[in-house]
């Protein structure tokens, strides 16, 4: 049994990414969070007052899909949505949201360290710049 696609970086990128994402999801779920929610908590903690739309643009999540995610975080008491300019909602974490964001950050840190340690030392420094070059949105 031979996989003729193993020589393609895009294919390996996809396989490695889905495997890594599944592992991260299994770690972050102990906080009752999905990957996207954990990410959003970090972004909003760092950018209080950011609008739903701006957050969505940052994460490549569309407005329409942002609505139920933000509403769920608000319903859980982790985030507030405050009207800012009449049509926009400024997002900020509650105290409870900040606490959970910190716990999530610890899990993220450990995960990322584990991931980095799996990379042979001679390739380690090259992964990030190579991936950034593949990610067009990084230039926006």
């Amino acid at each position: 049994m031979r996989d003729p696609l193993l020589k393609y970086p895009g294919y390996i990128l996809r396989r490695a990414s889905t495997a890594a994402m599944a592992e991260f999801a299994s770690r972050i779920v102990v906080l009752g969070l999905r990957t996207s929610e954990a990410t959003i908590l970090q972004i909003v903690a760092e950018n209080p007052g950011i609008s739903q739309s701006a957050l969505g643009r940052m994460l490549d999540i569309q407005r329409a899909n942002m609505t139920p995610i933000a509403a769920r975080l608000e319903a859980r008491g982790l985030m507030r949505r405050l009207p800012s300019d009449g049509r926009s909602l400024g997002l900020e974490l509650t105290d409870e949201g900040h606490l959970l964001a910190e716990k999530a950050r610890a899990i993220i840190d450990t995960f990322e360290t584990d991931l980095t340690n799996r990379i042979p030392a001679e390739h380690r420094a090259h992964l990030m710049p190579a991936l950034l070059a593949l990610w067009p949105s990084a230039d926006d």
Copy 2:
């Protein structure tokens, strides 16, 4: 607006992968194929007679999810499912399937070349071994 996760390779891996996958999907859809279908055509072309289960294990697709995918490819006249040992189905491409697999392969090749060319030369050779180290299934 600042993304505090931009320094994490796992996060960049996820963002780069979803962007690349979306781009590939938009290219392969002109053949009426999804990414998973294009992949399966390549694997079956290279491994005629492979069972659905073995194919699923190779691609991290579960048996239960393999069934409708294989049935759809068969219904389109691209693949045959021949009983092999009574409980297994051996997969092989039809002539039409081979033709489409070749067209898909051309799109894959162009896509992968484009992707590789985006990586700065000094990092290019390091991406594949770094990703393979992150992908545990590669060792199975």
